[in-house]
Symmetry: none
Subunit: 132 residues, 4 copies
């Protein structure tokens, strides 16, 4: 994935947040989990900065959305404590795998700062654009 | 928030602790989570030093009292693992957001060393003074 | 500093890097050292991601360009070991304080990935735009 | 050392800083290196928060002022790398041991945010008051 692509995903996510009337932090990582681009919208709670990055990191490290990761990395899940590996991962939604039109995994996006439901919707709005 | 304000909040919290007959650590952070002022009362358990700071940090980073944070950042909450971000946060009461008369968020106070109920009461005694 | 401002500084720095024919990571932090925006240009060495952030952080935490910080935080400087505080700071150039037209400190920019000379030139190209 | 004593030392250091026209962070630790009281004066660079604490910690952990510690914990000193123990120590002045009238070590004060010369003068102004 090129920076130009990451930037257009950031812009798509930001536009989705503005449509919902919320302010979030948005992180894009590449297929090797390295940061590509990040923004924090004005007014977003500061704690969301790191959370947005960890959501993206969680999604790419296990190649699943962080909402799915949450069902296994939980005291009642099949892989409890997995969330405590890799520097700490995120067991709730808002991290979404980015796939190309042919299904190739290209990276992940993490959104944090609004409700988990809105964070997920914003991340998916960007991810959908990529797969279209 | 100026230091003079933080110092008077510290004094108000300390007075509230003395009225309750308990000894606590009290931390004040600004709106960007940076430490402004701190005291540890004589006899306060040493572990409370860091806890008081993390309570204040939790409150300001997510703009909610740490008692409310506890309901979401919990294995049964909607954002399990959130407590493990930002250097480790505090999922129980005693961290309270500090708001001005007009509702502007000015920082947060964290109190630790007594029962959680007393810690909360002490933090609120200071926060109420600011909003009055 | 608003996100729109940080984004235009990122664009200015990126354009300066393209004119020099180099690829860098660029981080913008606000006046309280919190990340606002970040990009990694295609081809930039991965180690530069964290370095760009630490350069910006160094500049804002001590209100001086990281090239000046380097003269004091050095075995032969007056504050040896200062570079090992605050999570690790950066004792070479490429972190530049961002000031408004009236001299108010608004944040900092950190650039890493090219030669230190080019990193500094790129950071200053953005900072100059803000002060103009 | 009681909190009331630490608070009067903080006030003495703050008054000394105001006389010099500088803004600093001031940390007091007890004889076991545990934080007792802290303030950050309005306008003090944010990086000084942690440095003030590490200066006080350095002084009490090795029972010598951090300016003296600097002569041994340095690449050219007799105990190079000592500065990298205990979570990171501070090899320059501004951390001063607090002794009672009879010479008993009671804790330490750390001052950071101005020139090293001023930081030292401020810390000594408080320490002198205690020994008087």
């Amino acid at each position: 994935m090129h920076l130009s692509c990451a930037m257009s995903l950031l812009a798509a996510a930001r536009a989705a947040a503005e449509r919902l009337g919320v302010t979030v932090s948005i992180s894009i990582v590449d297929a090797a989990a390295w940061p590509m681009a990040f923004i924090r919208m004005d007014g977003c709670p500061l704690g969301a900065v790191e959370v947005s990055h960890k959501k993206a990191r969680t999604a790419i490290l296990f190649q699943m959305d962080s909402a799915d990761f949450a069902t296994i990395a939980h005291p009642d899940g099949g892989a409890y404590s997995l969330e405590n590996t890799n520097g700490g991962l995120t067991s709730f939604g808002g991290g979404v795998v980015l796939k190309g039109v042919d299904g190739t995994i290209m990276g992940a996006i993490g959104v944090s700062g609004a409700s988990t439901e809105d964070d997920i919707a914003i991340a998916r709005a960007a991810a959908t654009r990529l797969a279209a």
